[in-house]
Amino acid sequence: MNKNYILPGFVILVSFSLIIFTTVLLPHFIFHPEPSEYAVEYTELEAKGRDIYRREGCVYCHSQFVRLQDRGFGPLVQAGDYVYDTPNLLGTIRTGPDLSNEGGKHPDAWHKAHFINPRTITPGSIMPPFVHLKEDDMEALIAYVQSLGKKRLKKYDRIYRPDEYVAKLEKRTVDVNSSAAANAGRGIFQQNCATCHGTHGLGNGPNAIALAKKPANFSRPFYKDYDDVTWFWRVSEGVPGTRMPQWRKKLTDEQMWYLVAFLKTLPRVNEVYPHSYETLEPDKWLEQLKASEAELNSEPKAMLIETKGPPPMAGGGH
């Protein structure tokens, strides 16, 4: 070998060893974050679900770290959150939302329906259907997704059905699914609630400006999960700590059922397809998707209650 090339060879060797030392070995020696409160020690089922998450390549569309500038995905992640995450599933692309705090955002049945076919839950979604997952794999995957972030953003807790309100169902005289009831409810809503919640229930009534805790915006997607009893309970008991009154002191049960009928018709962002997700079946997903699409197209989408004449003025012009 020509002597001229010994020095360059040596330099390459030394420089590359140095680089490997600083960027591969050094972090390994000195970077050992303690497990944080939110580091998940996966149970057997969750670990299996994690394997399926990796096998199905969810990581190519979903990240698992919340950045400083992100909103709606929960608090910023800490180094200690990842101690048990091997192999890492941080992800580099977000075609879908970040999943680091996905646990508890939706009920299990929601996830199952969403994995079977995302488009029955979120029209226009481009997430692939994962119908090919076997029943136990699906269960494990859902368990894993529910473990993410240790349910710190748990939302469906608010879908709560106190027993005394469930009992009220028996004495109910109003058919909350009829449009007559919804129309009646609309009148009551405009008189009592629109000042705060806005005529369309968007939480933007004229009084909202003055309130520190803003009135609820009923177009938010998680109201999709409210059932009759939950609605009734919320209206009846009000929201402690806010200006939302306890309406049971002012309205009769019948009037509140009318309100429930109305609140149920308000459009949500990403309206669920008419077929509810509990009835989605893996082997019939394609037909069900077509059926619900047809159903959706045959019905007017937005405000289901038709208004005649100019829209009511905000603040009770009705």
Binding site: Y5, F16, I20, T23, C61, Y82, D85, R94, P128, H132
Partner: protein, 462 residues
């Protein structure tokens, strides 16, 4: 017969099979792109799901096409520059067979979900071992060839090739060390050390080395500056490897590691400028050759995309820009500009030049080659532009903190344009495969022999 000892036979087999994998890889990629337009196209069949196809696509084009074509071209360049026969043609042929089997098995494993889950390192362990054995054997063959060389001085291409065959086996080994279990973030750090260096210390070094050989050869002009080319080599050697962490710049990994990555990423502007200055100054006064020299046109188009990518790259790695474009389709756009726009185009040019010389006959059709150029060039431009636009839309979506479903509908037309651009490229490369196949089978050339000087054996000679 399989393990032929014929001169350049390994190079030939590597190139021929690489072109086959190119079309396979692009078909996989196109399928993935179509599934963004029609998400139910997989009809619930697991191996057809986008997320299973994506790693198969990446690994096929990266290891099947790009690596194999690079190796094939290097196996041709090294003997011509050293003026000796390849040290062990049989071993190289053996590696070629091994590698093809590995890619085939790799695709089958990945679409069935046997994936390690780390980006670029998805191939399962047994295949990793095969690839590593292949790499080490090739390094041995190439180093031994260079040691027995008849030309004293090493041309710059050889520096790059030798460098690549030193770095790559190490990088590959580190990236696929599944037997060492690392905690989540440490795992990510090592993953991205590998993920970025397979680009930096393998595709870039080989690609640039090939371009350094092709441009003077094809244009018939001497390299503008040898010292500048060495500056480029050494700055790549020093600055490229520590930059991997810029892929996880906003994850909670140690700050010093991120700072290191950003500084070195920005420093990469230096090798890029030196390399491109050298290419463009070499071409000074002979740009007219682009009109009728197709291989040269491919290589220089590649150089142009290299300029785009490598200006994008360092800026993308700075915190303020990364803050905005991270997690969006801008980034795969950038990756395609490097691997598809740049190195693939270099390889096309090189193959149009080398294949006729190895096979000793004309290319089957110059017309097909021209169509290949225009389909890939126009297709790629659409593709890259659309990627970037999607990236910007997504970036503003994330930045405004809106729900994905609120703005993802706005992307619908762009997913279609992207698939359209991809389809054009795919078609162009099917033409390429046909052209290469017919040339290999010895079909009678369609065009008069001297139409494309660099592609005809008779006029330029070996």
């Amino acid at each position: 017969m399989l393990l032929s000892d014929k001169e350049n036979s390994a190079s030939k087999f590597f190139i021929l099979t690489a072109v086959f994998w190119l079309v396979v890889g692009m078909t996989l990629g196109l399928t993935g792109a179509i599934e963004f337009v029609a998400p139910d196209a997989s009809t619930g069949y697991g191996p057809l799901t986008f997320s299973r196809i994506r790693p198969a696509h990446v690994n096929t084009v990266a290891f099947g096409w790009l690596s194999m074509a690079n190796i094939g071209i290097a196996l041709y360049i090294v003997p011509t520059l050293t003026k000796v026969k390849l040290f062990n043609e049989k071993l190289a042929n053996f590696v070629c067979i091994l590698w093809n089997l590995a890619i085939l098995a790799g695709i089958a494993c990945l679409v069935h979900g046997y994936s390690e889950g780390r980006e670029y390192a998805e191939l399962p362990v047994p295949i990793d071992v095969v690839v590593l054995i292949g790499l080490l054997s090739l390094s041995y063959v190439i180093y031994m060839t260079v040691i027995h060389r008849k030309v004293k001085k090493l041309y710059v291409s050889l520096w790059y090739i030798l460098g690549a065959f030193f770095w790559m086996p190490i990088v590959y080994f580190i990236g696929n060390r599944t037997f060492v279990r690392l905690d989540g973030l440490n795992d990510a750090i090592v993953n991205w050390f590998y993920g970025h260096n397979i680009l930096g210390m393998w595709f870039t070094t080989l690609g640039v080395g090939i371009a350094y050989y092709m441009i003077p050869k094809l244009s018939g002009k001497p390299l503008w500056s040898h010292s500048l080319s060495m500056l480029g080599f050494w700055t790549i050697a020093f600055f490229y490897a520590p930059t991997g962490t810029h892929h996880i710049l906003q994850a909670p990994v140690p700050e010093w590691l991120k700072a290191l990555a950003v500084v070195f990423s920005v420093a990469l502007v230096i090798p890029v400028i030196t390399v491109l200055t050298n290419f463009f100054m070499t071409m000074k006064g002979s740009w007219w050759q682009l009109a009728n020299n197709l291989p040269l046109r491919f290589v220089l188009t590649g150089a142009l995309f290299y300029l785009f990518t490598c200006i994008q790259g360092p800026f993308q790695a700075t915190r303020s820009i990364n803050w905005y474009i991270h997690f969006t389709q801008w980034v795969p756009g950038h990756a395609h500009a490097a691997l598809l726009g740049t190195f693939t185009f270099f390889n096309f040019g090189a193959i149009y030049y080398i294949l006729p010389r190895i096979l000793g006959r004309q290319f089957y059709s110059v017309g097909l080659a021209k169509a290949h150029y225009w389909f890939t060039f126009i297709g790629f431009n659409i593709f890259y532009f659309v990627f970037t636009v999607i990236g910007l839309i997504q970036a503003s979506g994330w930045q405004q903190g809106m729900e994905v479903s609120q703005w993802s509908i706005a992307l619908e037309p762009y997913w279609f344009y992207r698939a359209f651009g991809g389809a054009l490229m795919w078609f162009g490369n099917v033409l390429f495969l046909i052209n290469v196949f017919m040339t290999w089978r010895g079909a009678k050339p369609l065009d008069p022999p001297d139409e494309e000087p660099a592609m005809s054996v008779k006029r330029t000679g070996v």
